[in-house]
Each structure stands twice: as structure tokens, then as C-alpha cells.
């Protein structure tokens, strides 16, 4: 089998405290595959995502490990090379679309910016692509909405804009950090359907970070369970959900309302 798209080996991250935020975790992700990372607050799942993209803020620091992506170790790249990977190779969808979008910039310009920054298009071409992308994420009336500002969009529509930005440069890997947590359940269902559709259309690999086992069951091929910085269990989603081997996974599943 070929080398996986993303291969994280023995990653450890510290924030200077007595225990590690991420403690010697290893996992991989193949092209087109969805790996769900599940855990509660403070388990280290978001820190893992930020470490892969080298977006950790001090005092957060990667202590050791390797993050191979498309055959290169991201931890050894220069900042300039890394900037190329972010967005074009791996992009990130955040939980909070309101804080992640620039409130004083038209959404079309924010999508186009991703293309221009990576030298994929001129501004005028990029704006045309922005319309296509908004259309692809099913924002109704895309040619008109590209000129709107984020506050003119609902929560679900804003998350679609975020997804359009993340997909602008056609990255092979998207990291989605609680992409639907702030949304109502009916809107969440629509965004999950959209992500599934886009994944199939663009053969996207996805690292899906969530606290919701229901979302994992709907979206993931494999699942990794994190607890206090450690990866306590990983495997195919059916195996883990039906026959959890780890004590913590079992307790987490049992705590889901109506799981019994």
C-alpha cells in the first residue's frame, strides 16, 4: 500500500504545564478518507489539528514527533514552505464562522483572496471562481451573495462560506474542527450532507474533530478517541462504536443520551 496522505508519528505537544497537551499520538489518513477524532474539552483534539498546521500559539510547542504530509515532514519545513501547505495542501474549517471570517470584507473577496494568495488566479478570475465555489456549497443566488458581508449570512450559510474558502485551492486534506457544533440540528444535518457530497466530488480526505459520536457515526470511516492528550483507541467506526475496547470510549458512548 502506498504511503498515507497524512502520517502523524509520536506527536507530543506541551503548553509548559506538568502534563502534555498531546502525548505521543500516532495516526494516519489515506486520500479520500475521513478520520473522526473524538474527545471532550481539553482532550487535545484541537491542539492536534493546530499542531499539524503548525498554528500553535506560544506557550504551546511541539516537543517531538513527525507529521508527514504528501511525503514531506511538515515539522521541518520553513515558514514560507508551510504557508504554501496551509490552504493549498491542508485547509481548516473552524467551529465559529463569525470569528473566523473577516467582518469588514465581502465574502466573495475572502474566497478570492485564498486563490490569489496562493497564486492560483488573478483577482478578476478569482472573483468568478468565488461565485462558482459559493454555488458549489449551495449558497442560493451566489452571483449576488458574493458581494455581501458575513453579518448578512445566517450561521449555517456562514459555515458554507467557510467551507468554500477552505476548498478554494482544492486541497487534498481538510481539517474540520467542530464544524457543526455551533449550529442547530437541522442546519447541522444540511452542512454534514454538503460535506459528504463535496468529499465525494473532490475526493477529499477529512480530519473531522468533534465531541459528538452521532456526527462520527454519520461521517467517519475510522475513528480515533482522545482522552487527556492520549489516543486511547482507534479503528474502523463500526468496530469502535459497536465493540469499544477502551474503558474511556465505553463510558463516553454510554454518556450519549439514549445510547443504551
Amino acid at each position: 500500500m502506498a504511503e498515507p496522505l497524512l502520517d502523524v508519528q509520536h506527536l507530543s505537544v506541551t503548553f509548559g504545564g506538568p502534563s502534555l497537551a498531546v502525548d505521543d499520538i500516532s495516526f494516519y489518513l489515506n486520500a479520500g478518507e475521513t478520520l473522526g477524532v473524538v474527545g471532550e474539552s481539553g482532550s487535545g483534539k484541537s491542539v492536534t489539528a493546530f499542531s499539524i498546521l503548525r498554528l500553535l500559539q506560544p506557550p504551546g510547542r511541539i516537543m517531538s514527533g513527525r507529521v508527514r504530509f504528501q511525503g514531506r515532514d511538515l515539522l521541518t519545513l520553513t515558514e514560507t514552505e508551510m504557508r504554501e501547505v496551509r490552504g493549498a495542501g491542508i485547509s481548516l474549517i473552524f467551529q465559529e464562522p463569525m470569528t473566523a471570517l473577516n467582518p469588514v470584507m465581502r465574502v466573495g473577496d475572502q474566497i478570492a483572496e485564498a486563490l490569489v494568495v496562493h497564486g492560483k488566479a488573478t483577482w478578476s478570475d478569482a472573483i468568478a471562481s468565488a461565485v462558482e465555489l459559493l454555488d458549489a456549497v449551495r449558497v442560493p443566488d451566489a452571483p449576488r451573495r458574493v458581494h455581501d458581508y458575513p453579518h448578512q449570512f445566517s450561521g449555517g450559510m456562514r459555515q458554507r462560506v467557510m467551507i468554500a474558502i477552505a476548498l478554494a485551492c482544492r486541497p487534498p486534506l481538510v481539517i474540520a474542527d467542530e464544524p457543526t457544533t455551533a449550529l442547530d440540528v437541522t442546519i447541522q444535518a444540511q452542512v454534514l450532507d454538503l460535506l459528504r457530497e463535496l468529499k465525494a466530488r473532490y475526493n477529499l480526505a477529512m480530519l473531522l474533530i468533534t465531541h459528538d459520536f452521532g456526527v462520527i457515526a454519520e461521517m467517519a470511516d475510522r475513528v480515533a478517541v482522545m482522552f487527556k492528550g492520549k489516543l486511547v483507541e482507534q479503528g474502523p467506526v463500526r468496530d469502535v462504536l459497536r465493540h469499544p475496547a477502551n474503558e474511556y470510549t465505553r463510558s463516553l458512548l454510554a454518556a450519549v443520551p439514549g445510547a443504551q
Binding site: 471532550e40 474539552s41 450561521g155 442547530d184 440540528v185 437541522t186 442546519i187 447541522q188 444535518a189 454534514l192 450532507d193 465531541h211 459528538d212 459520536f213 452521532g214 456526527v215 457515526a217 454519520e218 467506526v237 463500526r238 462504536l241 463510558s251 463516553l252 458512548l253 454510554a254 454518556a255 450519549v256 443520551p257 439514549g258 445510547a259
Partner: protein, 297 residues
């Protein structure tokens, strides 16, 4: 909860309209946050009020306690309309009607010791001597599963689940008969959520509380409530015994909402139902669609 005895809480045609100024010259618009809501809660019941953001469920809860003044309608508590009460009478009535809020960070004063936070309702209502109040605080801490040695600490020294326990202890200080839990466990991690829910169910039994459980999480509501009302755009679109409502959802919105919940089984058939707003009449009255089950269809 014998049939025939009057319900503890009776909400009739509750309306709350907010006036929203559009600008200097534009006419103000009216947001019908709660638009003719009626339901009853029997003594000892855990009644669920569910809906998505903006459905009016929290506004309904607040109107019941008059934390927001309703535009019109009736809220009968033990048969008396609390909306007719004077300010002084209302303050007295609130001894019996308390609320636990969603956000345990913003609902606890960060500069007060948690013991004082829990004691405050007793001070406001001038109940007991200093020593008696202190003893009551210790008792309340034990009741909600917190060590009584923690009374001198500040809210930031506690985890989210512990803070929510403090909020519950404060709500219980005056021995209320009725508690509104407004998304009281929504901000918590799932394992902590399970603990706090267990605590609420346990307290409800031990203290014979009646509870209005406001939530957006249908799985949770299905799990703990005896009856449920589903709100959509300021109105109750469906109401019934939990089992009947979840097994035979009748209103198009309830169906869409239930079909949107992610299920734990990766192989379960998924049939998302999109809500078609033209498939129902917004103003339709609730109609009996089964035993103890009503829908606005």
C-alpha cells in the same frame, strides 16, 4: 399527580412581542418571539420544551418567571395568575419558582465566593440567622454533590460541571416547588452532562420538584422528560407524551427535526426530511392526533 388535581403551572395564550427599531425613519418591526403558547405542567413532572435557536423556548421560560414581562397571556401557578402579581408579591412567588441558566460562567458572579452565591437568595428573602443560613449552604452543597469545604472558593476555581452544580444549589436554596432548567446542561461535555442530568433527576425525586426542562437536544429530552412540547417560530407545533411524540411525530417540523439528529449506528438508514414551510399552516391550532398527543396540523 393524580388526574383531576389542577396542574402546578398553566401557561395560557402567552405572547411576547419585541419591537425592533429598523432605523431613524423606517417603521419599527415586531418580532413575535412567543406567539400564543399554551401548556400545562403537572406537579412532579419533568416537562420538556424543545426547539432550535430563535424558536422562543427561552423567552417562554423567562416570561413564566416574569424575568421578561410578557405582552399578554396568563401564567397560572397553583391556580393564581402570576402576571397579575405586584412586584412584592412576585418576589415572594419566586421563592417557589427558580431557574438554572445555561452558562455557568456568566451566571455566577466571579467576585463572590460560591458559598455567598448560594446563600444570597436566603439573604434577599431575609431567611434565618447568619448561622442558620451557613448551615443551609453546607446542606445544599452536599445535596448537589459538592464538598462543603469549597464554600470559600471563587467560581473560576471550579470546572463547568461543578459550576452548574453551584447554580443548581442556588436555585434550590429557597426550597422551590418549580424549577426551570434553561439549557442547563447544554454547555457541558457529554460525560459531565450525564452526571448533571442524573443529579437533576435525583433531586426531582427527592425534593418532589416540578421541572421545565428547556433544551435543543432532542436525544436528551427523550431520555428524561415525561412530556414534550416542540416550539417553532414562537408557537408550539406539537405536544405530547414523550414516547408518543417521538414514535409518531406528526407535525412536519417535528419530523424534520427528528430526522436531522445524527444517530449512533453507522448503518442506520438515514432519511433526512427537509422542512417545507408551505406544507403546514403557521397559525393552525393544536389538534388531538392521538392519546395525550396534539399537533398543529
Amino acid at each position: 399527580m393524580a388526574t383531576g388535581s389542577p396542574p402546578l403551572v398553566e401557561v395560557r395564550h402567552l405572547v411576547k412581542h419585541f419591537v425592533r427599531k429598523q432605523g431613524l425613519f423606517a417603521a419599527p418591526s415586531i418580532v413575535k418571539a412567543v406567539d400564543g403558547v399554551s401548556f400545562t405542567i403537572n406537579g412532579g413532572e419533568m416537562f420538556g420544551l424543545v426547539g432550535e435557536s430563535g424558536s422562543g423556548k427561552s423567552t417562554t421560560g423567562r416570561c413564566i418567571l416574569r424575568l421578561i414581562e410578557p405582552t399578554s397571556g396568563e401564567v397560572r401557578f397553583r391556580g393564581e395568575n402570576v402576571l397579575d402579581f405586584s412586584t412584592a408579591r412576585m418576589r415572594l412567588a419566586r421563592r417557589d419558582m427558580q431557574i438554572v441558566f445555561q452558562d455557568p460562567v456568566s451566571s455566577l458572579n466571579p467576585r463572590m465566593r460560591v458559598g455567598d452565591i448560594v446563600e444570597e437568595p436566603l439573604v434577599i428573602h431575609s431567611l434565618g440567622s447568619k448561622a442558620e443560613r451557613r448551615a443551609r449552604v453546607v446542606e445544599l452543597f452536599q445535596l448537589v454533590g459538592l464538598e462543603s469545604g469549597y464554600v470559600a472558593r471563587y467560581p473560576h476555581e471550579f470546572s463547568g460541571g461543578q459550576r452548574q452544580r453551584i447554580g443548581i444549589a442556588r436555585a434550590l436554596a429557597l426550597n422551590p416547588a418549580f424549577i426551570i432548567a434553561d439549557e442547563a446542561v447544554s454547555a457541558l461535555d457529554v460525560s459531565i452532562q450525564a452526571q448533571v442530568v442524573r443529579l437533576l433527576l435525583d433531586l426531582k425525586e427527592r425534593l418532589r420538584l416540578t421541572c421545565l426542562f428547556i433544551a435543543h437536544d432532542l436525544r436528551l429530552v427523550e431520555h428524561i422528560c415525561t412530556r414534550v412540547a416542540v416550539m417553532y417560530m414562537g408557537r408550539i407545533v406539537e405536544l405530547g407524551e414523550t414516547r408518543a411524540l417521538f414514535s409518531h411525530p406528526t407535525h412536519p417540523y417535528t419530523r424534520a427535526l427528528l430526522s436531522a439528529i445524527p444517530v449512533l449506528d453507522p448503518d442506520a438508514p438515514r432519511q433526512r426530511l427537509e422542512l417545507d414551510p408551505s406544507s403546514f399552516e403557521r397559525d393552525a391550532p393544536l389538534k388531538e392526533v392521538g392519546a395525550q398527543h396534539w399537533a398543529a396540523v
